[in-house]
């Protein structure tokens, strides 16, 4: 079953128009909706960045991770500790959180080089399960706040902008999303991106062709963790609270659900996946008070039946069919 092709080097005008339209919509929404919905949309943006990170690792590079929630947690706590204990302004914590997670991801990726498929899944699963306990440990309690967690002060928009706090946070996160997407797009359509995909599809052939699989794989882990860490930091600022219980194994599993539903090896898939993981639990809640997660599971299965390659592939196919009918 052929995997979707990497983003091509040529710039597709129609695609660019689509992206521009989506971006315009994204900028307009916070002025049309109440602050609660703006908050929810901010979370969608946060998840999109995290999913982009995980997708680079799993979708493009073929390394499965069931523990990416751990990097999200590290990013979140880095931001929280810097803001709370070091008095750093919120906007400065984001790149630092990303850097810390990037290093952590790279270091984790090194021993993980030896593990394939299921075994890598187990190792990352273990990381995801162990993270809450690590966060609660008394040796770092002074910084992390232990089981009590850390409360974060909500940032104010700059004085010259007439925005509410929620709207400002939304645009701040949107800006980071844009940067993340552009960087990822550039990375993936270049040489490194091709190396990543080659390693996923034909690891031995790639090695024989001179690709340094060890470096590329570890680096991919690092970059993927960096993205997820940035998302974690932005998420912590949006929620204004971090605690060990916020980052259990369910978060890691939710991220995997997000990339598969959104579309593996697809950049736009990150947005579709984020919309799914943010809103479908709410929809399931409305449909059934008694067993909402059963409804969620059913919706999930339905999605996998209808679009096993994810929403991005589905959207692409539908648009292609539509344009074919209408002519060039």
């Amino acid at each position: 079953m052929a995997a979707p092709a990497p983003p091509s080097s040529a710039i597709d005008v129609r695609k660019l128009a689509g992206v521009a339209l989506a971006f315009a919509l994204a900028c307009a929404l916070p002025f049309a909706l109440g602050s609660y919905h703006v908050f929810q949309l901010t979370l969608v943006l946060v998840y999109a960045i995290a999913l982009l990170g995980l997708n680079m690792l799993t979708g493009f590079n073929g390394q499965i991770s069931l523990g990416h929630g751990a990097f999200y947690a590290i990013g979140a706590y880095t931001a929280a500790i810097l803001m709370d204990k070091a008095g750093m302004p919120y906007w400065a914590t984001i790149p630092i959180a990303g850097a810390v997670c990037g290093v952590a991801g790279f270091l984790f990726g090194l021993p993980a080089l030896r593990l394939e498929g299921l075994y890598l899944a187990l190792a990352t699963f273990a990381l995801g399960v162990a993270m809450p306990q690590i966060l609660k440990h008394k040796s770092i309690e002074e910084w992390t706040g232990g089981v009590q967690g850390i409360v974060i002060v909500k940032p104010d928009p700059p004085g010259w902008l007439q925005l509410s706090q929620d709207q400002w946070l939304y645009f701040f996160t949107l800006a980071w999303l844009l940067v993340a997407f552009v960087v990822a797009w550039n990375l993936l359509r270049g040489r490194i991106g091709r190396a990543m995909i080659a390693i996923r599809d034909q690891p031995i052939a790639a090695q024989a062709m001179g690709v340094n699989t060890a470096i590329v794989k570890s680096m991919t882990f690092g970059v993927s963790a960096l993205y997820t860490g940035v998302a974690g930091a932005l998420g912590a600022i949006a929620i204004q609270f971090v605690a060990p219980d916020s980052f259990g194994i369910f978060l890691s599993i939710t991220l995997v659900v997000g990339i598969v539903v959104g579309g593996l090896a697809s950049i736009s898939g990150a947005v579709y996946g984020a919309i799914f993981i943010q809103f479908v639990p709410n929809i399931a809640d409305k449909l059934s008070k008694a067993a909402p997660w059963a409804i969620y599971g059913v919706i999930l299965i339905a999605f996998m039946y209808v679009m096993p390659t994810g929403a991005a592939g589905f959207v692409r196919l539908t648009l292609a069919r539509w344009f074919r009918r209408r002519g060039p």
Binding site: G34, Y36, V147, V151, I239, F241, A243, D245, S246
Partner: protein, 411 residues
């Protein structure tokens, strides 16, 4: 001349009568005041509950609240207004709790939050609800930090605080078994650590000498058997058991099976006869000590207690699917009764400010499912509704209270 005087007098009298009746009407028929979530026909309350996730056993509390308010509504509501409780699932996850509470406050615009459950979830939303000035009432957690009107004037807990409970156990041991070698098992989270702090603070300087072993466990652990063995081999002859029902039952059983028979104090959360002692084995639970502040539904001594019979009637009519052996269902009933009391005290002034004012104005409220002699009292400087408890010993069939009602003054 006399006729005009009489006429003036008549007019004056009529005027006085009208004036006084107007004044009287003003006193008894003030125009009702409504804040968000309240109207002439409805009072909207909000809460988050762990209907899914690791704490889902407590979801029954929210379901009982819904059933209770339905009963109140069937009987006319409060001052003619129906209560509409919007109860949302947060899966015991703080980010989800933040999202749901924001929805309740900004979209559903509830009058007040009632019995939001879980220390981590409440920690996440406390600053927000205080900033938005929404009454955050009767939290379903025993964390001690919910009684801080100076910093969080809109938050008021309910449970007897965990630290108070821990201190009571410590004081009991200092008095009755000063040479005890204590082993402690605690859940590695906010609740467990709060109770642990209470015990350690209560023991004071003696804690280093008396506590020989502390073992923690995670909610995701399969069993606590290993921890029990470690505590046993430490030579402890007293065991303070700070666990939730499933692990409490495991601990009680494993201690017995391993031949370890310490003085066993089990915390209130893990002491229910129906949810803990029956699965563990009633014969293995003889001699257990705990602190109680409300009646246990499985306790035969309350068999004919009128309040207990009323509760059972309610369970049978309005909450058939609820488990009458689950003490959480009795706990939830008490909190719902207290909320109704607060709303009744509000009269026709249903603003958020007044709800908070009335919550801080509970005087000598008697809830018959609390232990005999207990009252609920709050004031603008005292945000701890429950500050009394009684030690009890398990006889093999029931929790026998002994000693007097103990009052706590942990702030």
């Amino acid at each position: 001349m006399k006729r005009s005087l009489v006429r003036i007098a008549r007019w004056a009298a009529a005027g006085a009568l009208i004036a006084s009746s107007l004044a009287g009407a003003g006193v008894y028929a003030q125009a009702p005041k409504y804040g968000p979530g309240a109207s002439a026909t409805e009072i909207k309350l909000g809460q988050t509950m762990p209907y899914s996730g690791p704490a889902s056993a407590y979801g029954t509390i929210g379901k009982l609240h819904t059933a209770y308010f339905k009963m109140i509504n069937d009987n006319g509501g409060i001052n003619g207004r129906k209560i509409n409780l919007i109860s949302l699932d947060d899966g015991y996850s703080p980010p989800r709790a933040v999202e749901q509470i924001r929805r309740l406050v900004e979209q559903d615009e509830v009058l007040a939050l009632f019995q939001t459950l879980g220390t981590p979830s409440n920690s996440a939303i406390q600053k927000y609800v205080n900033a938005k000035k929404v009454p955050h009432l009767l939290l379903a957690t025993g964390a001690t930090k919910w009684g801080d009107p100076q910093h969080f004037p809109w938050t008021m807990g309910f449970n007897l605080s965990y630290q108070s409970e821990g201190q009571i156990y410590a004081k009991y041991l200092l008095k009755n078994k000063p040479n005890a070698k204590i082993g402690i098992l605690y859940q590695n989270d906010d609740y467990g650590k709060d109770l642990l702090k209470g015990v350690m603070d209560g023991l004071g300087s003696a804690n280093a000498k008396m506590v020989v072993s502390q073992q923690s466990y995670e909610v995701t652990d399969a069993t606590v058997d290993s921890q029990i063995l470690t505590l046993q081999s430490s030579g402890a002859d007293t065991f303070i058991n700070i666990t939730t029902p499933k692990f409490s039952a495991q601990a009680i059983r494993k201690a017995w099976d391993s031949g370890w028979k310490p003085l066993h104090i089990v915390n209130n959360v893990g002491a229910s006869v129906g949810s803990v002692l029956v699965p563990a084995g009633l014969d293995k639970s003889v001699g257990l000590l705990t602190l109680q502040y409300y009646k246990d539904p499985n306790d035969p001594q309350w068999k004919d207690d009128p309040a207990m019979l009323e509760w059972r009637g309610f369970m049978g009519r309005y909450y058939r699917e609820g488990d009458p052996k689950d003490a959480s269902n009795l706990y939830a009933y008490i909190t719902a009764q207290l909320m109704v009391q607060i709303l009744k005290q509000c009269g026709n002034d249903l603003t958020r400010e007044n709800v908070m004012k009335q919550a801080a104005n509970l005087k000598n409220v008697k809830l018959p499912l609390l232990l005999p002699g207990m009252t609920v009292d709050t004031s603008p400087t005292d945000f701890y509704p429950i500050q009394q408890g009684q030690l009890a010993r398990f006889t093999g069939t029931l929790w026998q209270g002994f000693g007097e009602l103990i009052s706590t003054d942990v702030k």
